[in-house]
């Protein structure tokens, strides 16, 4: 019974995931694309929960959905008309064909690679304890095995914050240069 429920949830979440991803790519209006991405993130959080990653799922919703997407929506709102009604796909048609081919082949290769290397082992998932995926175990890993990744990530965040401020600042000289060129 539990298996059946899990399967249903999985199918639903997967479907939503793919559909919203396609929607992001297809919609013309960036606002709608952003909203579709939020849906994508939510369905992914469900999938993470199915995989036993509670902390990650929470983090996904909070960080991605709560922060990143909010930023996106702010920017879209700020730009307003300037986001442009760029046509869906411009450029020579061979680019679309090549793109679909490349992407399709990557997908096929991923499946083949994974299938070849793992063989039948994918069906035997390891058994996990109740503390799998809890904040406590994640935290322990961050502060012991993966300390460097933790620290480096914090530095990257700092750099990104500074970069964001610089890019968004009203530096008068920059504006004058660009205006003179424009």
């Amino acid at each position: 019974m539990a298996n059946f429920i899990v399967w249903c949830v999985w199918v639903g979440a997967a479907f939503a995931c793919i559909a919203s991803a396609v929607a992001v790519v297809v919609f013309r209006n960036p606002f709608f694309s952003a909203l579709a991405l939020i849906g994508n993130l939510a369905s992914l959080a469900v999938l993470y929960l199915l995989l036993g990653g509670e902390f990650v799922a929470a983090g996904q919703v909070l960080v991605y959905g709560g922060a990143v997407m909010v930023m996106f929506l702010f920017v879209i709102a700020y730009l307003g008309d300037k986001t442009g009604e760029a046509p869906w796909a411009g450029g020579p048609s061979w680019q679309i064909v090549a793109t679909v081919l490349a992407a399709g082949s990557i997908l096929v290769e991923v499946i083949v690679a994974v299938g070849l290397t793992t063989g039948g082992r994918l069906s035997h998932a390891a058994s996990i304890s109740r503390s799998f995926g809890t904040p406590e175990s994640i935290g322990r890993l961050f502060l012991t095995d993966h300390l460097i990744a933790f620290e480096v990530t914090s530095i990257v965040l700092l750099v990104a914050a500074v970069g964001g401020v610089v890019l968004g600042s009203h530096a008068r000289t920059l504006e004058r240069d660009v205006d003179a060129r424009a």
Binding site: N40, G59, Y78, I106, L141, F150, T153, V156
Partner: protein
């Protein structure tokens, strides 16, 4: 484990990745491209977490959190660029931004 085995999750992650890739390659607005990149990153995250579950180690989840942090930083910088472009009335069309032409 209940539900589909890891293989299904991996295929799903691959599809997400590919859809994101198509989005990056085909759309011309930088905003949409950025969103597509997010989709690709999420696809990778899904694969990481699926394998973490498969092997019983949380290292994949740790990695996924790091990816999330990096993605966030990247979005900050990218959006900053787009805002700067918009403020200077540069047209938001990737095909028009050609100063790197060789």
């Amino acid at each position: 484990m209940h539900g589909p085995n890891i293989g299904w999750y991996i295929v799903l992650a691959g599809m997400l990745f590919v859809i994101g890739a198509i989005g990056v390659l085909v759309r011309r607005s930088p905003l949409i491209i950025l969103l597509s990149v997010e989709i690709m990153l999420n696809g990778a995250n899904l694969a990481l977490i699926a394998f973490a579950r498969h092997y019983g180690h949380e290292d994949g989840q740790v990695f996924a959190i790091a990816v999330m942090a990096i993605a966030a930083s990247e979005v900050v910088v990218g959006l900053g660029l787009i805002v700067a472009m918009g403020r200077r009335n540069v047209e938001l069309d990737v095909d028009k931004l050609r100063t790197l032409r060789g």
